[in-house]
């Protein structure tokens, strides 16, 4: 199924960068949760191994096949999300989880992969210099359903991570001023509709505090302040591994998930921050450079959208922990604890590897 030539074309450097980032993550998950009873770092290692296995499994299938069936996948996942809204049980205030005996997954994370494939499929046939109306309508329609369902869960953080995917697709397709205005109007109408007809009062309240944390200075504002204190007090070299007072004394919220970067900043200081930035830069560089390696349009779309997705989450998370962005539950890809997010990001990178290794085959 997978011949020698394909194997030699696997981008091992990209995989190495991926594992390097994940390993750094495990180190800090340990530091931020070793005093909790659930062994998060061990679970994360298990997720990494599993995700890596899935990554290689998906390499065996030509991405063209994924593209062909992307619409089918899309239908399956949309029905899943709709079903969860109707029948799901609330876990931690949202209906975004499906429970299995030993773990739970968030389909709202995994659907990002489907959306990338779907957009690549829609736009691969499209060669005009600028964007056309029907394509815009089609893509907006395709993305509005999952957005709607996930907002209703309600999981605003995950919804926000869909934005770079559609935005990325539109940018590549050549996005005129006219279509930008249209998109804005469309988004406004959609959010107006959702706000007035779909959301319940408590959901609205939750969204308001998410977007304007200062309305609840002792809730979300408290977290931002603590996170800033953690990072700022780290100084140049940090307070030392497992010695961050903010994180070890539990002033920080969600230390091993969304706020893991604050732990890095506190315990390893500016030096640690730069190392993580550098690791991310290399990873993003590798991803964006891969765009040049694809020989077909769909491949370019896939690689670019994956790169956009990861870059966006990275920036939002890092800006969130220093108060440059509202506190929205977006994890730091590869670093934060969380199986679904990790698996999704590994699958995304798997698609990039897939496109790169088959660049000479798909003539």
């Amino acid at each position: 199924m997978i011949d020698r030539r394909l194997l030699s074309n696997i981008d091992w450097i990209l995989i190495a960068l991926l594992l390097w980032n994940s390993a750094l993550g495990v180190i800090f998950i340990y530091s931020s949760s070793h005093y909790l009873p659930w062994n998060f770092y061990l679970r994360q290692i298990i997720w990494i191994v599993l995700s890596l296995a899935v990554l290689f499994m998906f390499l065996m299938v030509d991405y063209k096949n994924f593209l062909t069936y992307s619409f089918h996948f899309y239908i399956i996942f949309i029905s899943l999300l709709a079903g969860m809204l109707l029948f799901g049980k609330l876990i931690a205030g949202t209906k975004s989880w499906i429970r299995f005996p030993f773990f739970q997954v968030q389909p709202s994370e995994l659907i990002k992969i489907i959306m990338i494939l779907l957009f690549a499929q829609i736009f691969s046939e499209y060669k005009a210099r600028y964007f056309s109306w029907n394509k815009l309508l089609l893509s907006c329609g395709a993305v509005s359903l999952p957005i709607l369902f996930v907002v209703l869960q309600p999981d605003l953080g995950t919804t926000l991570t869909y934005v770079p995917i559609i935005l990325g697709a539109l940018i590549l397709a050549g996005f005129s001023r006219k279509s930008f205005i249209f998109l804005l109007i469309f988004a406004l109408i959609l959010s107006f509709g959702v706000w007035n007809f779909c959301l319940k009062q408590y959901q609205k309240q939750r969204l308001i505090t998410l977007i304007f944390p200062l309305k609840d200075p002792l809730g979300a504002g408290y977290h931002i302040l603590q996170s800033k204190i953690a990072i700022g007090s780290g100084g140049f070299l940090g307070k030392g591994y497992k010695k961050g007072t903010q994180s070890q004394l539990r002033f920080l919220p969600a230390r091993h998930t969304d706020f893991i970067f604050s732990v890095i900043g506190e315990e390893f200081g500016y030096a640690g921050v730069i190392i993580v930035f550098l690791s991310y830069f290399l990873l993003l560089l590798r991803l964006f450079r891969s765009v040049d390696k694809s020989r077909d349009r769909a491949g370019v779309y896939i690689i670019f959208l994956v790169a956009m997705m990861i870059a966006f989450q990275f920036f939002v998370n890092v800006m969130m922990v220093v108060g440059l962005f509202p506190v929205i539950g977006i994890p730091l890809p590869f670093f934060s604890y969380g199986g679904s997010s990790l698996l999704t990001n590994y699958l995304a990178v798997s698609l990039v590897l897939n496109v790169k290794m088959r660049r000479f085959v798909n003539v």
């Binding site: 590549l172 780290g234 004394l249 560089l285 020989r295 077909d296």
Partner: protein, 605 residues
């Protein structure tokens, strides 16, 4: 260049991608600069904030669950109490502080210093409790000097209070502050330094049910220490209310009867093992331990030669004496070594294995069958049974009937006693078993050791003709938030499937005779309430205390035992009493037991 023709031209979208990556690079560089500002330029500001993090979590301690008797009378309650704490970061001159505070609140200065030293691992802003149970005068003294001592804070907390003082103190137990080592252990994972936890008794074994969930809120204090606001309040949840099987009237009676003596009394429901009374004397007032500062009083109690802290009912080890004759009779009947008509002649003493063994009655009992053997507690009769059974069979039946193992009562620290065997002696003492020792064991002497509770459970087993009950103190508990009542059910089990019920009937007949037919337990006789019982008096040989006492002339050297149940048919209640140095069991323990039987009967008629 040839490739160009084969592959489609993607240069446009690649260029767009490159432009986006340029954006990524710009953003990344700006973040590098922004983090430089936060972590390097503003470092001092944030470092100070992290050092004196003023936004802190304040714990609202949960009141412990109540403990009530079986009728709902509260035995363990909570009252509000004030405690004074020191916040070190507000303290400018610790020497001055400790000098003035020790004078103000009348604490010894070195005690205060030790206290603060013990908690030095806590962050600077965390209050350290240095005196609790403040009186109202002390509270007003502190309040009046609030401005002088910004480092001093007053906090209120719910405090455990036992309204009846020493009532059932051994059963209920007491609380003490966790030590630093205990905090680090797995058991107390969620506890904090300074928390009070159950140290003994029910307070310990049901600590998880009683403890509740602490609440908390986030307190914001500005740099001058002024209180700015409270947020994210979570109210504490009180622990569950425990309802005990204890009957306060019986318990009070039992304690009253033992007052001034050393001993223990157990009253069990014969059918289901509910403990109606569990008394041990001397006793103590658990209210005195809740105070965080009682080293002297504590040492007084620990070093008291009469061991008031020991729960004699479950931890006191005594030779069973003549009570053991019941076990021997059951074993012999089961193995068909005797019938109820088998008789031995008692002339006051007997020579077995070249040694002289005497009966308690110098002139002897004459020809004695099983009924009279039990009724008169004839030693000679049981020396003969012991000889027939042999030590291994004696040990087997003793173990089967509940000796040598814990009864499983829901109290910590229960002792298991000792059923000696030749193997045990070989292992522990390194010498082999003498046949003469078997004869001593036959009347409950020798190395044999039992607890009063084991005796009570053993008696219930005889009363139920082989059905064993597990004694328990928790009747039910009420969930504090749902108010849902959860019943605790202990199922009696058939422990001695081998022994026929006719064997029990024969033994019970003898016990009935001991009370109602001018036997050794006649002082426990109650008209119309068929009490069946056995008394015992054990010579205290090994105890150091006994040797001391024996030098004093008027002190008796035997412990006095009584165990029995009533009524004979459908037994309802088991009473076991031991009075240390009480003399003959029939004389001192039996009358006490009769009063407990009488009270039980009055309450249930």
């Amino acid at each position: 260049m040839e490739n160009r023709k084969i592959y489609e031209d993607l240069s446009l979208i690649r260029k767009r991608s490159q432009r986006i990556f340029l954006l990524v690079e710009i953003l990344l560089v700006s973040l590098v600069i922004y983090f430089w500002k936060i972590q390097i330029l503003d470092h001092d500001k944030y470092w100070h904030q992290s050092e004196s993090n003023r936004i802190q979590e304040v714990i609202l301690p949960a009141p412990r669950g109540l403990i009530t008797d079986r009728e709902g009378h509260i035995l363990a309650d909570n009252i509000a109490s004030f405690k004074a704490s020191l916040i070190r970061e507000n303290c400018k001159n610790f020497d001055l502080f400790s000098r003035r505070i020790s004078r103000l609140l009348n604490i010894e200065e070195n005690v205060l210093r030790e206290r603060i030293e013990k908690y030095k691992s806590l962050p600077q802003f965390k209050p350290i409790v240095f005196k609790d149970n403040l009186t109202l005068e002390e509270v007003s003294l502190i309040e009046a000097r609030k401005l002088e001592f910004p480092e001093l804070v007053l906090q209120t907390e719910p405090k455990r209070f036992y309204p009846f003082g020493s009532f059932a103190a051994h059963t209920i137990g007491y609380l003490q502050e966790l030590s630093e080592e205990e905090i680090k252990s797995e058991v107390h994972k969620e506890r904090k330094l300074g928390d009070l936890v159950g140290k003994t008794g029910l307070e310990k074994i049901y600590d998880n049910l009683l403890r509740g969930e602490d609440g908390h809120y986030i307190e914001i204090v500005d740099s001058l220490g002024r209180h700015r606001g409270i947020s994210a309040r979570k109210d504490p949840v009180q622990g569950h209310t425990l309802k005990l099987t204890i009957d306060s009237e019986l318990q009070k009676k039992a304690e009253g009867l033992l007052e001034g003596k050393e001993g223990a009394a157990v009253v069990l429901d014969a059918q289901n093992g509910e403990v109606l009374a569990l008394a041990s004397y001397p006793t103590f007032d658990p209210n005195r331990f809740i105070n965080r500062f009682t080293p002297e009083e504590w040492l007084d109690l620990v070093n008291n030669p009469e061991f008031p802290l020991e729960n004699r009912a479950i931890r006191g080890l005594y030779a069973p004496g003549s009570l053991f004759k019941l076990t021997l009779a059951l074993g012999s009947l089961d193995l068909n070594l005797i019938t109820q008509n088998t008789s031995f002649f008692c002339r006051g003493s007997i020579r077995i294995y070249g040694q002289n063994f005497s009966c308690w009655r110098d002139q002897g009992h004459g020809w004695t069958n099983l009924f009279n053997g039990i009724r008169n507690s004839c030693n000679i009769y049981f020396y003969n049974l012991g000889k027939r059974l042999g030590i291994d069979e004696i040990a087997r039946y003793a173990t089967m009937l509940g000796y040598g193992t814990r009864t499983g009562i829901d109290l910590p620290g229960e002792k298991e006693g000792l059923v000696p065997t030749p193997e045990w002696k070989e292992k522990v003492k390194g010498i082999s078993w003498f046949p003469g020792e078997t004869i001593s064991v036959s009347i409950g002497q020798g190395p044999l050791l039992v607890t009063p509770l084991q005796v009570a459970v053993h008696t219930a087993l005889i009363a139920n003709k082989g059905i064993k009950v597990i004694p328990h103190l928790l009747k039910s508990y009420q969930e504090s938030n749902t108010k849902e009542e959860k019943e605790v059910i202990s199922t009696p089990r058939n422990a001695t499937a081998g022994i026929e019920s006719s064997a029990y009937e024969k033994v019970i007949k003898g016990m009935w005779g001991a009370v109602n037919n001018e036997g050794t337990a006649r002082l426990a006789k109650i008209q119309g309430f068929d009490v069946c019982a056995k008394t015992g008096s054990t010579q205290v040989v090994s105890s150091l205390k006994a040797k001391e006492e024996s030098n004093q002339e008027n002190k008796i050297k035997t412990h006095s035992w009584f165990t029995g149940f009533a009524p004979k048919i459908n037994p309802k209640v088991v009473v076991t009493v031991i009075v240390e140095f009480g003399g003959m069991g029939g004389e001192s323990a039996a009358p006490l037991a009769r009063q407990l039987f009488e009270l039980y009967r009055r309450k249930h008629d």
